[in-house]
Amino acid sequence: MSTGWNREEMAARAAQDIPDGSYVNLGIGIPELVAKFVPEGREFIYHTENGMLGMGPPPAEDERDLDLMNAGKKYVTAVPGAAYFHHADSFSMIRGGHIDVCVLGTMQVSANGDIANWSTGAPGAIPAVGGAMDLVQGVKHIFVITQHTTKTGEPKLVEHCSYPLTGPGVVSRIYTDLAVVDVTPAGFRVVELAPGITFEEVESKTGAPILPPG
């Protein structure tokens, strides 16, 4: 039976790949955990779409500032050296290529880096996109953290996304419970296997051709 990485380990593994001094935007869910695993000696500055650089951890409940929230609508704090700005300036940072790394969750990623993480396209579903399409087109490096398969065992790394795209050809690296996978001109390539995981297992759970490490 495989062991692989749990949510924290996936986040910690992703954090290893973010250089010191990076400006980072973290999506909701597992990506948020990256902030807990900043490697020794490095510092990341967190951007939140609703108008802040230098976002800090959540406050104690009795120390909340009701006017200090993040893009996930959770209460947060500000680190020394933070800055506030309006939404147009905030998305200028995103669209203008000033944010170094964005870590996102996803529903599907394709072998050419397409990402689908905003809509199932199901009839009757209420579409809601937020800042996802701005982020994937604007940020320099798009990292994805996701379980390798859905709860029902369907691959999330696929040949072509069946869900509506958030953006085409934008993802550079994927962190799953089983492996670190790069999107390369030749398609998916495993960079690193989680402890106890074989390449064959990763290959069998991936919905597209995938190259072994090395």
Binding site: T48, E49, N50, G51, M52, D65, L66, D67, L68, M69, N70, A71, K73, A78, Y84, F85, H86, H87, A88, S90, F91, I94, R95, D114, G124, I126, P127, A128, V129, G130, G131, A132, M133, D134, Q137, G138, P164, L165, T166, G167, P168, G169
Partner: protein
């Protein structure tokens, strides 16, 4: 002498007509002009087109305005909320329209309206179903979509401090869309926590210069959406 002060939220929003396009500041529960929105519920204008990043929370503020059937169409980036069923139910019943705009494009379209820029190009939505009806164009070998400005008849704004000329400051992330919407509406109506004398705001600290503001009303102890929701409140 220039004095943009109004004595009450009711008088400040009294002339918003049926069918008006209204921008409402705020993001999530912060920076929402709840008192102005509730005054608009009391006033009763109908068939409104409302521009806000979301569709409100709980049964207060924007969610209450929608729930009161005053909104014909929402222009927003994220109409879902874990805290409100008001918009989803009306939408599924076909009783409210939705124009979905990515958050950064929404902000830039509003800024463009304020800046006299009728259209601009952005990479956002390229290659997605949201770009299907949009004109695209190559610049430097990359594809971009053209987006038009987004104007409004009125903007309802919340700020922290205002002076009588309409110079505004905001508090932390309650700034969000508020300064942009001030620029993009024909008539910008601001509720301020504190109304101060001219000269009491450091000119370096002004976020919205008074030129973008038409009416100011002091609401010195504004309610907060999250508190109202925690208390189980609804409006009216």
């Amino acid at each position: 002498m220039i004095d943009k002060e109004y004595s009450s939220v009711a008088s400040a929003i009294a002339d918003i007509p049926d069918g008006a396009t209204v921008m409402i500041g705020g993001f999530g529960a912060s920076g929402n002009p709840i008192e102005l929105i509730h005054a608009l519920i009391d006033q009763g204008a109908k068939d409104l087109t409302v521009i806000n990043n979301n569709t409100g929370n709980g049964e207060v503020g924007l969610a209450a305005l929608i729930g009161n059937h005053q909104v014909r169409k929402m222009i927003c980036s994220f109409p879902r909320s874990s805290q409100s069923r008001v918009f989803p139910e009306l939408y599924k019943a076909g009783k409210i329209e939705l124009e979905l705009v990515p958050q950064g494009t929404l902000a830039e379209r509003i800024r463009a309206a304020g800046a006299g820029i009728p259209a601009f190009f952005t990479p956002t939505t390229v290659g997605t179903i949201l770009a299907e009806d949009k004109e695209t164009r190559q610049f430097d070998g990359r594809t971009f979509v053209m987006e038009p400005w987004l104007k409004a008849d009125f903007a309802l704004i919340k700020c922290e401090t205002a002076d009588r000329l309409g110079n505004l400051t905001f508090n932390k992330t309650a700034r969000n869309f508020n300064p942009l919407m001030c620029m993009a509406a024909t008539t910008t109506i601001v509720q301020t926590g504190k109304l101060v004398a001219r000269g009491d705001i450091d000119p370096e600290r002004v976020i919205t210069p008074g030129i973008f503001v038409n009416r100011i009303v002091e609401v010195s102890d504004p309610v907060h959406e999250d508190i109202l929701i925690a208390e189980g409140r609804s409006y009216p």
